[in-house]
Amino acid sequence: MHISEGVLSGPVLVSGIVLAAAGTAIGLKNLDYDRIPQIGILSASFFVASLIHVPIGVSSVHLILNGFVGLILGWGAFPAILVALTLQAVLFQFGGITALGVNTVIMASPAVLCYFLFGRLIIKKPSVALPAAFAAGALSVFLAGILLGLALVFTEKDFFKVSTIVVMAHLPVMAVEGVITALCVGFLKRVQPSMLPGYLRS
């Protein structure tokens, strides 16, 4: 999910860059250099996973997984998503330079929020953890849609209807993301719970 180049206004682009830089700075500051391989290789996995198309009705969507990124990486989601978007731009030309900041904020801030809202819940028993993971997956896509809509509306108030359509279009994606995030967290809980945040602390 991202905004094409050439759509947004100057103030929105600049705010995006400032916020993305701040988030990335926090993410990098918290990032102990021991964990760089962990973040780098996981972010490579997220990159690969986000290329997966899953069927939905007659069509298919590609996964976004920002909720899952948030749950696993916390603030690390900012640098991880920035890096992933940069790679996407260079490898596939999915984006350019100007909207990189805004797109990072759109995807990463819901991820971090979900980490703070649900991070502690997903290490609880499955009846709590799985709904929490579903909520994280769905909410992060929903919020990303809202942020995208806001970026459009701040650019031009007549973009309101476009924004509404964009947010609506993400509703089925939300459901799929929620389900996949819940199942993925369920998988990790069984196979390698130490990958989940706060596992070692509890």
Partner: protein
């Protein structure tokens, strides 16, 4: 499979100082993004195409990439003219297509294409490793660059691992459909991918520690500007001044 179709080449543009290319691409992109007058936008599109030509890229591949991106632009064309306030050009049943909406779409299309084309011409024409080093030289934090290069290094390894997992599902009769079973299978494939990635990260960290890693990043690449680079800089600066002139001085 993931490829970098434009990175290798022998054109002048491929040989330019990467730092220069990044700086120019950034400045140019922002100026285009902030421009609104058609003379400037048309000029930008032409200049971008000119640079694509100078980079002697595979036109077919570049066109394919642009087609993908323009799919999104098409969506704007379908929605904005109908939803934008303004003077009606003509009516489609109860809806009216507005002049302002059409102009806005035209601007978006021009800007979007000009920005992405310049990105292909200047940024995609260097390997990501070079891009990383150049960004480092331009002052981006070492940790971030290290993360970028490490991610890039392992995208390929992990992509292959994923392809193997998909194969395993395939030979056991897996067919993607809209069912919870399909979603579960994808979740398992991804979960397994993450678990393996995490184990690999541990091993990679060990390998780094064994080679004395203590948190500092070094960049071996030195970039130096040649006379050609200066000539190109002059050319690029005049392009930028030209665009600024077209947009803000209203010569035309």
């Amino acid at each position: 499979m993931i490829q970098e179709p434009f990175a290798i080449g022998s054109s002048h543009i491929h040989r330019l100082d990467p730092r220069l290319k990044i700086l120019f691409a950034t400045a140019y992109s922002f100026i285009v993004a902030l421009s609104n007058r058609f003379p400037a936008l048309f000029a930008a599109l032409m200049l971008s195409l000119l640079l694509i030509g100078l980079a002697r890229l595979n036109v077919w591949k570049a066109a394919k990439r642009m087609a993908l991106v323009n799919g999104l632009i098409l969506f704007f064309w379908l929605v904005i003219p109908l939803t934008f306030e303004g003077t009606a050009l003509f009516h489609l049943g109860p809806l009216s297509v507005t002049r302002e909406g059409v102009l806005l779409c035209a601007r978006i299309s021009l800007k979007s294409n000009a920005i992405l084309l310049i990105f292909i011409a200047l940024v995609s024409t260097m390997p990501i490793t070079t891009l990383g080093h150049a960004m480092n030289r331009l002052g981006l934090p070492g940790k971030l660059i290290h993360l970028l290069l490490l991610t890039y290094r392992y995208v390929f390894v992990i992509d292959q691992e994923y392809q193997r997992l998909v194969r395993a599902a395939k030979i056991r009769g897996f067919r993607p459909e809209t069912t919870i079973n399909t979603y579960r299978t994808y979740a398992y494939l991804m979960g397994m991918l993450f678990v393996r990635a995490s184990a690999r990260a541990e091993r990679v960290h060990h390998a780094m520690v064994c080679r004395g890693f203590d948190g500092r990043f070094y960049c071996l690449r030195d970039f130096s500007s040649t006379r050609t680079d200066w000539a190109w800089s002059a050319f690029m600066i005049s392009i930028i001044l030209g665009l600024v002139g077209l947009e803000w001085t209203r010569i035309i």
